[in-house]
Amino acid sequence: MLLMGNESIVRGALEAGIRIAASYPGTPASEIGNTFAEVAKEMGIHFEWSTNEKVAFEVVYGASMCNQRGMVSMKHVGLNVALDIMEMAALRGVKGGLVFVSADDPSQHSSGQEQDQRWLAKQNCVPALEPSDPQDAKDFTVYAFELSEKYQLPVMLRTVTRVSHMRSNVKLGKLRRLERKAEFDFERFSYVVAGFDELFYGREKEANEKIAKIKVEFDTSPLNKLVMTGKERVGVIATGQTYNYVMDALVKMGAKDKVAVIKLGTSNPLPERLISKLLKGVDKVLITEEPDPFVELHVKALAKDVNPKVELYGRMNGKLPGEGELMPLMVDSVIAEMLGEKLPPNPRAEVEKEAKDMIFGRMLTVCAGCPHRSSIYALKRAVKAVKGDIHKVIINGDIGCYGLAWAPPMSYEDTYFCMGASLGVSQGMSQVGVDTIAWIGDGTFFHAAIPALMNAVQTKTNIKVVVADNSVTAMTGFQPNPQSGKTATGEPTVSVPIETIARAVGVEHVEVTDAYDIKATEAAFKRMLQTEGVAMVISRRVCATEAIRRMRPKRSVPYEVNESKCVGCKLCLLTFGCPGLSFDEEKKKAIIDPTICMGCGVCAQVCNVGCIHGMDE
């Protein structure tokens, strides 16, 4: 069956008989939760999109202490948010198998950083498994639950974007239900019953002992495979998906019999005896992994004891780059060099350069019809009107589609960092006398901004907050959040409006406006800017792409340009820049591509001469 890596992980969890799963959306992990959301009811398990990753982890840990298996999934930086509870679960131990997925994003395909979360596994005495493809992803997941229960530790399943998003044929196992009774294990987890001192102190020693035992188990685990005849002079330790590049390179070069290979599926702890065998048997060893030299550093330490003469190749000796994803050509050329061969340089380097000079880069922008575009447009006008200059205020953005506010032609966002940071950094700037606006989305507001908002109220900090509320977590695929009024599996539930929270925590000036109404939104922003203290505008309109999804198979009515009225001023293109707009250079008129237009009609409000109208008008 053709499965994506992320779908295979869900399949593996279901074959392991999980009872509960929780996640917060984030690329490249999102499809794990999306898939759970689709199948949870049918499989009789609980799945939720939690408010953030820490909550998700805690929910699953709670069930684990009651002897139920569960999975938490998140993108790499989500684990930073969940780190507090992850560390405690590692120290206090688990009961029902607890597997958490950290989907790392080397080379930052869709992230602000490429943090390698295997260091957190090492730091917290947590085993880390690295699948190389969708089949591994399923099989490793099933094994991870066994391992978790055997050693009573949470287990990290660590993928990278190219495993999470790879699709290939997967052989399925049987779906399982465990039918275990849910009972809190007092002997293991209750301070009162187990004894406070026993549970609280000295847990690091126990965790270290568990990892030492797992290390021995990994030496003979099928997750690690050594292929060596003893005649090779060169070896490779290929971690996770880089194994695929190594094998493709060896097949291509016809060098399979010249190179001994360890397919490494367990990066923490390392199977030291297995690796020692390779280190002792060859002269040169290449370590391939992404993105940090995590395995390489530990192999280097090991080599000092078992074969100090072995020459190590990888990211630390400069033969591979110190950061980022590996590319097949990089792996080809290092292996060739180790075998004493030389490959021709990239045959396409020259023509690629020509193409790069000729073709634009295709910058990201918010979609056609996106309500954020009109919110930013209105915000610029309001700041200009109240402050005289749009750059008199620092715009601190946040994580989500609206984070693209920096992109031309809107070009109106100075910073963004991590979930919820817009509110915190804005307060620091404001305290030292610099004017700010925190520019945050609805999903991010719930995830991490509420404590920061209360902080601003308590400290009487003069900050302005714009919530770009498009009613879904759009960037990761339209997942619901606490305001949506529905659960992950589509059940109706209580909606938690942002304005209710804001007023409840003491924000006195809170207004809600329709993002598609530029005049009204601009007026609301002006009133916010003229208010002392904490003031908030929620600029609300459902994500255009989501709106179209909801009306399918019907489509909205596109807008068009009345050529006789258009004066060719390009105002709509240069200040608004919706992807549905372009310019006919011969006629000198703006045009709207009806296949792209979402029918929001905001460009008609931007036009000075009234030349844009709906096709039905």
Partner: protein, 199 residues
Amino acid sequence: MKITRVVIAGVGGQGTLLATRLIAETAIKHGLNVRIGETYGMAQRGGPVMGHIQIGEAYSPQIRPGEADALLGFELAEATRRGVTYLKQGGLAIVNSKKIPPVEVISGISKYPEEGELIKLLKSVSSKIVVFDATSLAGKAGDTIATNMVMLGALATSDVLPFGEKEIIAMMKESIPARFLELNTKAFKLGTEAFRESK
């Protein structure tokens, strides 16, 4: 062992993934190993999308520069961008002439290159280039959203894949919901005709 390699280039929202999946599902049905890799980080937001497919005994989906047997270009500039890197000398390029200008063109920061210039550059790696307006053909079939099936139809008619039109149409019947099937098969057929006419 023979490996078939195809690169798909386009822009977010063009349905490249459905075309890729149909190829892969057909391959699996015929007992072939297949690997797909897609890069689409924030594709919904107008970004470029690229898919790699390797059919046969490959470990990774990732195709090395200059090794793709075919390029399926859903958008003119994206086709050239990826084609010059991945298409092998003499490989087949099927290119939709549709232009989707990015925000830097819309807002006047850069220009969309002339079609002639783009094709000329692509020709420097292969002269086997078929260009036609797949988006208009999809419109004729009923909805421009079916551009992906027009492109797939054209690829299926070439002899690049280890299976042909019939096998892919059979798979479409299995995996596309009934209410969308007519539009998609119609678009697919227009793609096969466009490819034949180009010869």
